[in-house]
Symmetry: C2
Subunit: 311 residues, 2 copies
């Protein structure tokens, strides 16, 4: 069995009583751990009491979307009661928002790799301090599709960088460190089965390109800066499609790398707002986009319900 | 005189009637421009009427801090009236918050290079559509100091990357593109003079290191992942100090690169929350940090007041 020790260890592959682990021996020696961007600390909050029962963590960019999700999952699991409020656990800061109902935690992460990375460092330490076990973490997001009808949902097989490589590169103490971005294959299949069960919208499994910029970084022609042509852009997106990439977003690579390093079973489920082969601007009406946004939420709340034997 | 033409041009160095320019010929050919992450569009909002008089744009990570700033600057400029509310111009989205009073715009940008880059692409297009001229843009932020008393303010001479190079690297269509991160030297001196006039807190001019991660990327020992020692960390931070780096944050390099490419006079003014040579965690009490956070706001609102001849 894996132990939540101070030593950096390879996580167990099966997840019978698999505790959340850190890949950092220093944290176990700290008297207090202040999770600054959550406004939570081990000396002022009882993490095991607050979070010890967490089994599912869902993360997404927008705070209001993650509030909607916790209400949705509470209703789906029959854990809602009239007048329930779901207070923001991180109310003391406006960096992130966090909500909880039963075994489900819902956390916002802002936009981009650095923003989700800060959140994940503090979230993983929080789950470790709370002695959580057998945790599944799923990013429910929005993305641009490649060659898919808008509204399609993509379950990520592999997160790749802007050069289509399944890697996450980071500079640590001035040196280049490369980590793998593998996703949990079994979890991908379980989520795909849930989508078949639901039969509400198109879902595909595909590679997801993760970029550091929304405009130039994704080959858009409509940013403040652009030095290439429509033809250059089409060639790039077609090459991405040929490499198995079905959508583009801005968080999946570091999410895959960090969760894998800390023994969390992880998946990325994103809806596509547009087909990038057809354009750059998000022109669908607000109510259409709002319905699209609910699709990953519906899929993942069904998955949680099924995992808990409530379907 | 510079013209806000469709062609990508070098911005004028002087700023007599210097219009905000795009470095993208495609935008001028678009019938409508939807600034998705602001929930604003040229077809639904009259940008020249709403923003044409903007001369100062202040940006910072936290939405609530940027709300505090607009109230502060309104009072300082004598533009506040009892009961004024300063509604969030981007109320239709929770990605960013935007406030305006007189010639001052205050916009939040979240955390990290990708998050501020999305905001800057849409902000610069907004100022361009509004036909703004002679705009100064200042980031007022928080940071970790190197060898400075906490609460010190750093005005950025040069934004450097995690290898201490004054460059911003980006992947565009799968290829590496490097841009310079020069700041406006005269603006640095003007801000430094304002700090002398105020004489309220220590202010220095120094290089600012901009990283993609808050934990490993800044040599912290207290993240979920860490594979180096205290000694390795100290060697890195001491080398940074020797390279003229006085603080570390996560947005300055792309801010400098994009503003420079679009002819915006730009500066970065950040307070330091801790001295990284002494530790990693932000342990100061909330009220102390709250006062520190106000320092860049006080400096920049004084600068605006002075620029408008109101001092």
């Amino acid at each position: 069995m894996a132990a939540a020790g101070a030593e950096a260890k390879e996580p167990e592959n099966h997840h019978n009583n698999c505790l959340v682990q850190l890949s950092n021996p220093h944290v176990a020696t700290m008297k207090e751990d202040i999770l600054y961007h959550f406004n939570l600390s081990t000396s002022t909050h009882d993490f095991p009491a607050m979070f010890g029962d967490v089994k599912f963590v869902c993360v997404g960019g927008s705070p209001s979307r993650m509030n909607t999700f916790i209400r949705h999952v509470a209703a789906e699991l029959g854990l809602n009661h009239p007048g329930d409020e779901y207070p923001n656990i991180c109310a003391g800061t406006d960096r992130y928002a966090m909500y909880k109902v039963g075994p489900v935690l819902s956390v916002s992460h802002g936009m981009g790799i650095p923003s989700i990375a800060i959140m994940l460092h503090e979230l993983i330490k929080m789950l470790y301090h709370a002695r959580c076990s057998n945790v599944t973490i799923i990013r429910i997001g929005t993305s641009g599709g490649i060659g898919l009808e808008p509204g399609s949902v993509v379950i990520t097989r592999q997160a790749v960088d802007a050069c289509f490589k399944p890697e996450f590169e980071q500079i640590v103490l001035g040196k280049r460190v490369v980590r793998n971005t593998d996703m949990d294959e079994q979890l991908v299949q379980e989520l795909m089965q849930c989508s078949s069960d639901l039969n509400e919208f198109t879902t595909v499994v595909g590679n997801t390109m993760c970029t550091l910029d929304f405009y130039e970084g994704q080959g858009r022609l409509d940013g403040a800066i652009c030095s290439y042509t429509e033809k250059d852009k089409q060639a790039y997106l077609q090459a991405a499609h040929a490499a198995g990439i079905r959508n583009i977003e801005m968080e999946s690579s570091v999410f895959a790398a960090m969760c894998s390093a800390c023994g969390l079973r992880a998946a990325v489920v994103c809806v596509t707002f547009l087909d990038r082969l057809q354009g750059d601007q998000i022109t669908s009406p607000h109510d259409v986009l709002a319905e699209y946004q609910q699709r990953p939420q519906r899929l993942v709340s069904y998955f949680i319900k099924k995992s808990l034997g409530k379907v």
